[in-house]
Amino acid sequence: MSKFNFPFIKETNELSNLRKEVRDFITTCINNNEFTPSPDAWVFSADPSFSKKLGSKGWLGMSFPKEYGGHQRTALERYVVTEELLSSGAPVAAHWIADRQSGSQILRYGNEKQKSSIIPRISAGECFFAIGMSEPDSGSDLASVKTKATKTKDGWKLEGRKIWSTGAHLAHYMIVLARTSPASEKNRHEGLSQFLVDLSLPNVKITGIPDMTGQRHFNETLFDNVELSDDSLLGEEGKGWKQVVGELALERSGPERFLSHFTLLDSFINEFRISLIHSGTKIVGKLISEIQTLRRMSFSVASMLQNGESPETQAAFVKELGNKFEKMMIETLREFSNIVPLHEWPNQLQNLFEDATLRIPSNSLRGGTTEIMKGIIARQLGLR
């Protein structure tokens, strides 16, 4: 089990000061009615002007190098900023994917032109990304993607469909995983490559898919023989699988895996503090212990990323535990309605709760299902 250690990392005074700075900024924004805290805000609540504001504060692209408009700060500093944004339900969806994974992916694998043209805009909160992994016939089985990129005289021709592309209708780019040569019989992971695709190119068609809450964040993105320039290839041809696995580690380990519905919990406790003292100390204690453990683990993964490690397995642990925690939290609140009936809750809290109840099934699907997380862990345990 020693390979699944989560070393303890202390929050330094500098980090606490940064935390306070972000918190004060958010409080001001809320007081000025610049946004209303909302649940699952990193998926649902996009506000490009808020993203731009964060960019100008220096809180996007925090760990990117200065020469590309970044701030050369640590992954731990970024962690603190994201925690504050998530716990307050700020509208961060527009830039979330770019800041969390696409920027780092480009910095790691991109060529000079890709880096210098895109990274500064991500840091400024002006350039947004969507994820190009799932397809209509490839969900959990990511290696089975059929989207194909064929070499042409001047570059590549991209053909295929990506689905569940959250925010693609607002995004400028998508990092697309595509097949560039057939899979070998022995290894299905060969022959995949990543492409940096400008979504404003001709023959890219983005269609919204309302989710079960009725809102639009999902899309289907069709690439109908899209002509890509030669330098659209991200990283090395044929090494797409290794690259995408690294990208997923960035995607899975962050605090959005357990703070998506924190605004609900916060309002719930503020509303029912007195009733909870009488009949809910135990449930509040349970929730506190889980959140603190998850924060402790996720912060540890941030330090692994900072040290240049690839904590794919640790990220799977955090995601799995975080997903379970959020489901448990909703159930716990539901049980409390035995003490104060749901219809007596303030309207806004009722809405938050019902909204969360509706959205919660998606938390153990997006970013890799529970089954995939358990499979990753089982592999590390030597079971497969």
Binding site: P7, T293, L381
Partner: protein
């Protein structure tokens, strides 16, 4: 000190590997020379006094730093109260009492305790391994002061005995028993918190072993023409054990690295809740994937799961600590939850 500790951990593993096996665990009596020899080796290496002050002949390594040692001892399923002795001796030493040689056990609970003329009467409950030692630490509040009480000739009527092959436990009624030493406990020590941490570290050591046993068993055992470990249903169950264990280990290492910021820091409560919850899951899953063999006396799984069952109830179960945490936040705090957590 870290290097010193590394060496101690390595030596301990070697000693335990040499002495501990499942048949030893089935004969935990003071007449068993194998048990005595193991203790001799442990004592020769100074382990019982590892956290005792140098002036009392100890290594003076802080109690929180030696939690990895507690993990190793219980990962090997050592059928001796070394963990109890280490904590008892630490508390004695911090209370300026010279810890005795040999095994020292403790009482996690008492009933109707009376102290008069340096003598003690009442019920002393849930004492592990009382059959192996005469030395007992009791922590008891007297006139609003917590006292460490050392008894070195424990004697009384056994009113309840639990010995289902894991660690033996006794409830004992004593009357006018001589107290060897009694002193106020230093202000920075809370026995209930330290006990909860000790039991959690023990649980984590045992859970690591249970995970290894489960992985090995499922990789070797074939059914329907393939190893159990090749079934996805089994893989997912074992993954769940690993997830629970990793969360508990993370909670433990917070304390190993940081100590307790205050003697009653939330970190101890979080650890006991996390480890106790994980233990429940891991007991159930490990027995499920082992099938009937895990339910036998002969196979070692049950030694570990039975101990988990005791330890998760000692020094407050999950509910106790959840209420503690919840109350502390709700009653004594006007901050909103996020401010409180950060």
């Amino acid at each position: 000190m870290i290097e010193e500790l590394e060496i101690i951990l390595e030596t301990t593993s070697k000693i335990l590997q040499k002495h501990v096996n499942h048949s030893l665990r089935q004969n935990i009596v003071s007449e068993n020379t194998d048990i005595l020899n193991l203790w001799k080796d442990i004592e020769k290496n100074g382990l019982p006094k590892i956290s005792v002050k140098e002036k009392f002949g100890g290594y003076e390594i802080p109690f929180f730093s030696i939690l990895p040692l507690i993990k190793i001892v219980n990962n090997h399923g050592t059928p001796l109260p070394l963990s109890e002795t280490i904590l008892s001796n630490y508390i004695l030493s911090e209370s300026d009492i010279n810890p005795p040689n040999g095994i020292v056990t403790f009482a996690s609970d008492t009933k109707n305790l009376q102290i008069k003329n340096n003598m003690i009467s009442g019920e002393i409950l849930s004492v592990p391994y009382l059959n192996l030692t005469k030395n007992l630490l009791i922590v008891h509040e007297l006139n609003n002061v917590k006292k460490a009480i050392l008894i070195n000739e424990i004697n009384g009527e056994i009113i309840h005995e639990k010995n289902f092959l894991a660690e033996p436990r006794y409830n004992i009624k004593v009357e006018d028993l001589n107290i060897a030493e009694i002193r106020p406990i230093k202000n920075n020590i809370d026995f209930n918190f330290l006990g909860a941490i000790l039991r959690s570290a023990q649980m984590i050591g045992a859970m690591e072993k249970i995970l290894d046993l489960s992985i090995n068993y499922c990789s070797e055992r074939k059914q329907f023409g393939r190893a159990l470990s090749k079934f996805q249903a089994i893989q997912h169950q074992i993954s769940e054990m690993a997830v629970e264990l990793s969360a508990s280990s993370a909670a433990l290492s917070t304390i190993t690295e940081l100590g307790l910021v205050e003697k009653n820091s939330n970190d101890a409560a979080i650890l006991k809740i996390r480890a106790g919850f994980a233990a429940g899951k891991i007991i159930a899953i490990s027995h499920q994937v082992h099938g009937a063999i895990g339910f036998t006396k002969e196979y070692e799984l049950s030694y570990f799961t039975k101990n988990l069952n005791s330890w998760r109830n000692d020094f407050g179960n999950e509910s106790f600590w959840e209420e503690f945490l919840g109350k502390r936040f709700l009653e004594k705090n006007n901050k909103n939850l996020w401010e409180y957590l950060t």
